[in-house]
Amino acid sequence: MKQALLLRLIGLNCLLSLLIHPSQAQETREISGVFSGVSFERFAQMVEQKSSYRFFFNPDEIPDLTININAYQNTLPQLLNQLFKETDLQYTIDHHDRVFITKGEKLSYQPSENLYRVASEADTLPSADEPSQLKEERSFAKNRLWQIGNAARSEGETEARLTGTITSFESGEPIIGAVVYALEQAARAITDEEGHYSILLPKGRLTLVIQSFGAYQEQRQVNLLGDGRLDIAMDDNIISLTEVTVTSEKSANIERPEMGLENISMQSMRKIPAVLGEVDVLRAVLTLPGVQTVGEASAGFNVRGGAADQNLILYNNATIYNPTHLFGLFSAFNPDMMEQVDLYKAGVPVRYGGRLSSVLDVQGKYGNKEKLEGGGGIGLMTSRLYLEGPLGEKTTFAAGGRSTYSNWLFGFLDEESEFRDSRASFHDLNLNVQHEIDENNLLKFSGYLSQDAFRFDRDTAFAYSNQNANLSWRRYFNDNLEGEMTLGHDRYRFSIAGEFDPLNAFDFGFSMNQSHWRTHFDLDLDDSHQLSFGMNHILYNLSPGSIFPQGEASLVLPEVIPRERALESAFYIGDEYEVNSNLLLSGGLRYVVYNYLGPNSVNLYPPTSIRSESTLIGQEQYEPGEIINTYHGAEVRVSARYTLDNFTSIKAGFNTNRQHIHMLTNTAAIAPTDTWKLSDPNVRPQLGSQLSLGYFKNFENNIIETSVEVYYRTMRNLVDFRSGATLILNDAVEQDILNTDGQAYGVELMAKKTAGKLNGWISYTYSRSLLRTSAQELGERINDGRWYPSNFDQPHDIMLVGNWEFTKRINTSVNANYSTGRPITLPIAKFNYGGAERVFFSERNEHRIPDYFRVDISFNLEGNHKIRKLAHASWSAGIYNVLGRANPYSVYFAPTNGVLQGYQLSIFAQPIPFITYNFKF
């Protein structure tokens, strides 16, 4: 050990002396004298006395060497050569006449493997328990000039080979795959499994750069004199690179056959400023062209002029009937558990169906295979936590939960306030597990639970929940065929409990149960045909409403609207056919058979009269399992893409959809207490068709994407309601339904910059959405049977989403949205009736609320880069509605000093600051 250290020190001195006397030439001096029977130690002493030579050796290595030599004007090398002839000792003489005796191998300035580790940094450093010095030394290593190689040995050559080992400073493990290069030089080297590298570089001053994933970039100033060795230890770095963008996806918007597909990555979603700091899937969806909402805190969204119940919201194959918490303030999807979100506005793939307007496909995580990881966030109102990782070799899982503590907010209220007794709570839980049975078989389980409960005073409590579970099995039959089968159950229910008066205490409930079985296959027929086919079956079991008395004293009559059952089966086949490199056709046919099932009783009306209590001619009873009636029909999904050049394409599409489930709502927004109705002999399925055409062009090497899309939609058998309709606990709801036609059309312009310090998109949409009481409807005709705007007809809509990356750690986002105010029916005249002032309303949706305009900003700050931290954190802070504009959410009229006065109500009328702390471990 001692010698090794000694040698090293020598080596270092050596190098330093080279620095100091770079041009000193080696002289040859002669030695004379008789050395008889002396030990080597004595010999060395004698030589030292006579000359300027100094010996360095390990006496243990030369124990039994007796010197018998007669020297006369011999050079020292001559003598030593003679002396060491029979031994394995070697010698080295340096510029300072120092003589190094080594055993076996010659000591050399050249990095001779392992022995002479000239420039290993780690060796030059003191032990790690002196951190401040350590730090100093390490930063020194980056800035000092490393002399490498012996110029003399490779004179004439212009290039030299630099070798070495790259290790992690943290663990000492070799770093595999690190890239080593010198600035302004073409040569690159990559470390092998042991961390070794070897690179041929021109001699002279160089800046050596070492890069590796998961480590900071390292630099060394090197004066390369000849072949040499430099070992480098690198600091680990968790966040050294931005996310990798797969460039083959870049021109996807040009290449894809389908239109109207929007997909949002979780990264971009995180940058969108959110209310109260919650990353929100639904709010992100609202930034897309063609997607609108009636108000800021409303559960539903409207796609291309369709009603909110026409969106199929899927989370890992499960249908989510109410995707929000706290009556629409938050989406019910935990952002940490999401992988990707796709929204199909048109060109819905043939495997999906059942809704007219869109499919929102939210894909959850199934956990990574490498290690257990977790994370979460703490916001002003909610906290969340997730954990993912392997469970054994072939199984991975991801689990997450989120909960609110909004109750404390109510505690701040005035003691007098009637809302002090209010309580609102929600939580959601996710569990996804994936198991790889073998190479070809994959099993996935996905479970989801979300629950909301709130009460606004001591008397009435509301609650709703989504419960979903499904199991899917994916099998790769061969290179061309893969299949997936999913079995699952979805449940949505809500309840209202009224306890204000013991005599009238009640418990109202609604529940929706659906079991689904999906089988899907993808088949690559040949290079130009990609087939997909399969079938979906959904068994609906819906309890439209029930009311029960609560407590002994209650006189409320229990009432249960009979359950509704139906089986919706769809069989589909689709083909993506690449005619040539320019033309891609995609066609699909989906045949849907809907059976309304017993047991149930169906109200009968004469076919040519209006449906009302007085025209009811009877009821027909059906036995369990009996098919009451059947609706069936084909859905067509066709689209074509023609590329004009690599950056330009034209697309066209036509599709039809059928919907057998209708939301019964006569409010503008979706309320958590809206019930659903299945199609029955009196309520026909909704039918819709959409024709769309688009032109897509990319600029600047696909960094800028632009598109123009136009669409025209028609809809039939929509449900609107008679004035004064009762929708809850109505077992003859068909009497209140007005069969309604719809049409919607629009143009969507979008420009998007996908990369760079500044990125984001701007979009403009002009769209209309109109309704008309169907001509066959014999009863009430809204607005005398003319077309009238739907509740979500907002013709002009401009959306700007911009991100600016100051550094990799800090970025800021701006989100601006303008849209025309939604239509509203206004009171236009007033009169006295029933002892009070009443108002007379205009025609349906004849007026509009004021336009909507909002700007949000947010800052995202990644945590510092210290490696030894419990968790990696990031902060997200921002302001929702920076301008503090009081955007009207709705308007209402109330008497003030005897005169009816209009008021507009806004929800977020002030700038709402938010801050969220996110962490990962």
């Binding site: 206004l826 709705s890 009328a909």
Partner: protein, 382 residues
């Protein structure tokens, strides 16, 4: 459900929302729609209709009474009974009608004919009980009844009458000519006041077991209201109507109860069962129901409400002055001051001063009440 919607609105505001004035530009619209309100009572009670016209939304008056119309009740089989104009848009018909036929209301004016549909009379079941109970907010009054095959949907109205008193009683009056006090013949300290229901109170008996509506809340007298200061009476009127009328009244009720909240139902308005015979598309507001209404009166005495501190804000400022003899003329002549009684110092038989207060503290009529004892009034008795 209603409650839910209301709370939703307030909660929205709580989430730092806010409320601003909103005055939309309204399209030009004929604001003079005909409004008809009333009930054809084939029983003992008076058939009374109020006919008016709608006004623009921002006007001070909600509606303008329609006078000069010819209003009549027409039997489906036989008979036409003209209603007598009472002024102020009111038309009335005394006396009972045959119960064995349907009736309609006809209105004609300015060469325009309006008529309601023929409606069969519904005989309203008796009110079983009008009860009251103290509540944290005051005093709640309930009605209970029982529906039957014909009568399932109920609408209630009420008339409240109560006694209130001034804090001081004046036994004298200052005679301006005599310049002396004379005995006040009439006591002005006790008045009866009345108020009619302003809310629409309705309930469907179908919801309940045996169609028994128990303790339907009609109103809540606010805590420490003057109404229960002495003696109070309420006449509850109950009418059974048909389903369509019930839907109409429901829409009227909703009309003012929840407008414009995002979770409130889309505004809908049913114009009722009256049409313009010449232009059936013209909206006419109102629903004519026919039947026999029933009434029940109860009295509530202050003892029933104890403790109850009836507070009349106007009387809080009432004070008594002592006016000496030499100041009588100055104080009482042509002024608002009223003598209460002579003030006699100690046990002295000579009274040298008069107690005085302002007129509004002795004359209850100035608050709108009447001295006239209503014919139905029963005094408190043990």
């Amino acid at each position: 459900m209603r409650q839910w919607i209301y709370y939703m609105g307030v909660l929205m505001v709580f989430f730092s929302g806010c409320r601003e004035l909103y005055e939309p530009e309204l399209s030009s619209f004929d604001h003079n729609l005909l409004v008809v309100e009333g009930y054809i009572d084939v029983g003992e009670s008076t058939t009374e209709f109020k006919i008016s016209r709608t006004n623009p939304i921002y006007s001070e008056q909600a509606s303008t009474p329609q006078n000069g119309a010819l209003v009549a009740v027409e039997g489906q089989r036989e008979g036409v009974w003209d209603l007598i104009p009472q002024g102020d848009g009111l038309y009335a018909l005394e006396g009972s009608l045959p119960t064995n036929q349907a009736y309609r209301l006809t209105i004609s004016m300015d060469n325009t004919q309006y008529a309601s549909q023929f409606v069969a009379p519904i005989i309203t079941p008796e009110i079983n009980e009008v009860s009251f109970e103290k509540s944290p907010g005051g005093m709640k009054i309930f009605a209970s009844t029982k529906g039957n095959e014909e009568a399932n949907f109920f609408i209630w109205g009420y008339e409240e009458t109560w006694i209130y008193r001034t804090p001081y009683v004046s036994y004298f009056e200052y005679d301006q000519e005599l310049e002396d006090f004379v005995n006040q013949d009439q006591r002005l300290h006790q008045c009866w006041d009345e108020e009619n229901s302003l809310r629409i109170i309705m309930e469907s008996a179908e919801r309940f077991q045996n169609r028994q509506i128990n303790n339907k809340e009609l109103l809540e007298i606010p805590l420490n209201s003057e109404k229960l200061g002495h003696r109070y009476s309420i006449l509850v009127r109950q009418r059974a109507v048909d389903h369509d009328a019930f839907v109409f009244w429901e829409s009227i009720r909703r009309n003012s109860d929840d407008i414009g909240n995002i979770f409130s139902p889309l505004p809908s308005f049913l114009s009722g069962n009256i049409i313009n015979l010449d232009h059936p598309s013209e909206p006419v507001i109102g629903y004519v129901s026919v039947g026999i209404s029933t009434e029940k009166r109860i009295f509530i005495d202050r003892q029933d409400a104890q403790p109850w501190l009836a507070i009349i804000p106007e009387y809080r400022a009432c004070q008594i002055d002592t006016v000496s003899r030499e100041d009588y003329a100055d104080h009482f002549r042509f002024s608002n001051n009223v003598p209460i009684q002579e003030y006699c110092d100690g046990f002295s038989p000579v009274c040298t001063a008069f107690l005085s207060t302002t007129r509004n503290c002795t004359d209850c009529r100035l608050r709108g009440g009447t001295l006239e004892r209503p014919s139905f009034w029963e005094d408190f008795s043990f």
